[in-house]
Subunit: 178 residues, 2 copies
């Protein structure tokens, strides 16, 4: 039940339309939660029905017309409750590790190529996050708590990508050139 709260957070940061939200999920929110536009539209509908958000008044609501949402007090309260909630970490799901374990049983055909490909993808993602860090959190750090929290979240994404880059590099070294 995290998607609605991801949306509430995003809307509190800045009122947006469904498509704008989708784009922000592809970018900044994407490094810890992803969603497609279909999910987002469905969830926006539910949140509106629940009275947690509302569409900004439009002259005539028409399909295909941009619709901007903002969070209502009830929505902010709901988010506050959710933040204080306790939830166990879910085990990770890494198909690549599964493939590697299967490869130990049926043979590692093509595995090195796949590892190399993933290494490049994670390196690329890491570089992107580092660019964001340089841009949004330059050295003379502000010390407000919200800023520190946002920076910590980004560092989570960064360190996660570093983990993959490191592990994939080690794996390729250990497995050697075919």
């Amino acid at each position: 039940m995290s998607l609605p709260h991801a949306i509430l957070t995003a809307l509190l940061e800045k009122p947006s339309s469904g498509l704008e939200l989708t784009r922000r999920f592809d970018k900044s929110i994407g490094y810890f939660w992803s969603a497609t536009h279909q999910q987002i539209y469905r969830e926006l509908g539910k949140l509106e029905q629940a009275g947690h958000i509302r569409a900004l008044p439009a002259p005539v609501p028409v399909r295909g017309q941009r619709k901007e949402y903002e969070v209502l007090p009830a929505g902010r309260e709901e988010l506050g409750t959710w933040v204080a909630r306790s939830e166990d970490p879910k085990p990770m799901r890494a198909a690549l590790l599964l493939r590697m374990r299967a490869a130990a049983v049926v043979g590692a055909t093509g595995l090195r190529a796949e590892l190399t490909r993933h290494l490049a993808l994670h390196q690329e993602q890491l570089d992107e996050y580092l660019t964001i860090e340089t841009r949004d959190f330059p050295p003379p750090r502000r010390h407000t708590e919200p800023d520190r929290l946002r920076h910590l979240v980004l560092r989570g994404g960064i360190d996660m990508e570093r983990f993959w880059v490191q592990w994939l590099t080690d794996a390729l070294t250990e497995l050697g050139p075919e």
Copy 2:
């Protein structure tokens, strides 16, 4: 579509019943793919129908009676094909990071406690993996490829937990004592 292949791998390592598989998923397979017994029974049914596995002949098949499965040649072939397949890494889903980002907006009530709790859980998991490593991959390493692959998979789990322990420790330091 990874669960059936996780099951095929597990069954190739050792023919098992549904409940045994569930236990193995809770343990060794769990550090990169998890599944409940309901999922596993359903998937065993599908795999049997597809002709990828078969139940070992039982005198009289009765509900509540243990049923052991083994992989058929078609199943092994399917797994081989899947291993060679290419698949992009999925973005991570970490509700805790989402909570932290929400906390930057609505306030970090109770966040430190939750971080501390997660730190303990991840530290525990890390210790467990390290115990497994000591037991299953002792220093004089064998050099067969399957062994190296299995060890790499375990190290993936280990390094992932190390990432969390490190990040949570940093976060708690940075946020300070309330």
